[in-house]
């Protein structure tokens, strides 16, 4: 069961990358080499698994930005585009988010990207 789900994961990811919607940057997701090791998250859907390296402080801040209702929906728009839209609408989004996004090394897509 675990192995099939791992194959499904890979298959699913391939399908997503070939469509025109997502950008070139592929999402980081550690794929454990061993299938059914004790304590592995293989059987869990990606959205529920908290990957240690994904969940650093910067990503936490960006996820809070994604979830903030004042700046509008986050699905289907990159974080930087959403920040710029909020800026243009006069919503005064925090400048730290912009510098984080432009600095690189963070996910440019919202937290729901590829999962919805």
């Amino acid at each position: 069961m675990a192995t099939t789900s791992k194959n499904m994961n890979v298959f699913y990811r391939q399908k997503k990358n070939s469509s025109a919607s997502t950008g070139k940057k592929s999402t980081k997701s550690p794929s454990p080499k061993h299938a059914a090791t004790f304590g592995s998250d293989i059987t869990q859907p990606p959205a529920l698994v908290s990957h240690g390296d994904d969940f650093d402080e910067q990503e936490q801040v960006l996820r809070q930005f994604d979830m903030n209702m004042a700046y509008g929906p986050c699905v289907g728009i990159t974080r930087l585009d959403r920040w710029e839209r909020a800026q243009r609408m006069g919503l005064n989004p925090p400048k730290e988010i912009e510098s984080l996004l432009r600095g690189g090394k963070v996910k440019l897509e919202s937290l729901f990207d590829g999962r919805v």
Binding site: S21, P73, G76, I77, T78
Partner: protein, 399 residues
């Protein structure tokens, strides 16, 4: 035969400025976004505007969001209206096994006495009660401010409504005192069995000054612009059934365009003309419709007086602003609300400051992410809609 009189009649001219940039979608990139983005942009723009109008309306009442409503507390809420309609066609009806309320024959108007309105913002939605807000007048997508209070049943009892009202009009003094005319034509439907080429030729002859005596020609010389407001061609649906076309049918497909191009060449040689796409023209289905391809008009597109425009179309002639559509927005309002005549619908869209409030709910629309191009921020001097049953006109005076 008398030689032409020494005085050659000159056509009057106007300066033209196109304001269609807002309706063009070449720069837009589709990244899988849904319509929530355009609704957010609409709500934000309109809400900012309504918040600025509320102090002049009822300054003593607090403004709150839908989730902040408390029972019995009188307040003002701002949000997007949603009309729940029993008879509105739903894709799920095709899959439901039991008989639905909707009759088999599609009605022209989907209203029902059980329709009710709901107000929605980012925090939540609330059902609206009371008689002030009539479900027969309003449609999904209109942003309004409501004064009322929450009832024990959890609904919001509406005591008063504030619409955005007519947008401000830029005051521009007329430079010249002479009369100039703009011709609007729609629904030519070339290629349909009901279209009469003689009628169109008569129009072309009249506009270009080939008809009548000097007085008539003088009148025609005052025409400075022609706008074709959609549905210029009609391709018979028998040809578009998905089968491969035989070569003789292929020529039938392009016949209407050849005929249209011949006539438009005559017009373009004489005065500036704008052609807008309509629901039956070969343009994209969703609003804003993009300009018809210039390749369809090999003869007339060579003239610099020929302009292929978007639908909706906005332009200025001698600083007079014109704004209008080929009719899809008004036709959709006719299906989902009611009014005494079409001009009432037109007036409502101006008072709601939105060209097509039912888009994207029941009217196809591009999923913009950062703006809603159908918001009207400056009141046009001439507001037109094409392809309606009859010609009507009204002069609207704001305060």
């Amino acid at each position: 035969m008398e030689v032409d009189s020494q005085e050659q009649l000159q056509r009057k001219q106007s300066t033209y400025l196109s304001l269609d940039e807002n309706f063009e979608i070449q720069k837009e990139v589709y990244r899988g976004q849904q319509y929530s983005q355009i609704y957010f942009a609409r709500l934000h723009m309109m809400r900012t505007l309504l918040y600025s109008l509320v102090p002049n309306w009822k300054s003593h009442l607090p403004v709150c969001t839908v989730l902040e409503l408390e029972e019995g507390k009188e307040c003002i809420i701002v949000g997007t209206l949603y009309k729940h309609m029993k008879l509105k066609p739903c894709i799920l009806d095709e899959y439901s096994k039991e008989r639905s309320v909707a009759p088999l024959i599609k009605p022209h108007n989907f209203m029902h006495q059980d329709d009710y309105l709901v107000l929605e913002d980012e925090s939540g939605r609330v059902k609206l009660g009371g008689t002030k807000l009539s479900p027969s007048v309003y449609v999904t997508g209109v942003v309004v401010a409501l004064h009322g209070k929450e009832t024990s049943a959890g609904a919001f009892f509406v005591e008063d409504v504030l619409e955005a009202g007519l947008p401000p009009q830029i005051e521009r003094p007329l430079k010249s005192r002479e009369d100039k005319y703009v011709v609007f034509v729609s629904g030519l439907s070339i290629g349909s069995s009901s279209s009469n080429p003689l009628q169109f030729q008569l129009l072309v002859d009249h506009i270009t000054g080939h008809l009548g005596d000097e007085e008539e020609q003088g009148f025609a010389a005052e025409i400075v612009h022609l706008v074709i407001v959609g549905n210029s061609v009609e391709i018979s649906h028998g040809l578009l059934n998905g089968q491969n076309l035989a070569s003789k049918d292929q020529s039938r497909l392009s016949e209407p365009f050849k005929e249209l191009d011949i006539l438009l060449t005559q017009i373009a040689a004489s005065l500036p003309l704008d052609i807008m796409p309509g629901s039956s023209d070969p343009a994209n289905f969703a609003l804003p419709q993009q300009p018809l391809n210039r390749c369809l008009f090999p003869g007339s597109a060579t003239y610099n007086t020929f302009r292929s425009c978007t639908n909706p179309h906005c332009f200025e002639l001698d600083s007079i602003r014109f704004l209008g559509t080929s009719g899809q927005n008004i036709d959709d309002l006719t299906k989902y609300s009611e009014a005494k005549d079409k001009l009432d619908f037109l007036e409502r869209t101006l008072r709601w400051r939105h060209l097509a409030p039912t888009a994207p709910n029941t009217l196809g629309c591009y999923p913009f992410t950062d703006r809603d191009p159908f918001l009207i921020d400056s009141c046009p001097d001439v507001y037109f809609v094409g392809n309606q049953e009859k010609y009507e006109t009204r002069l609207l005076k704001g305060c």
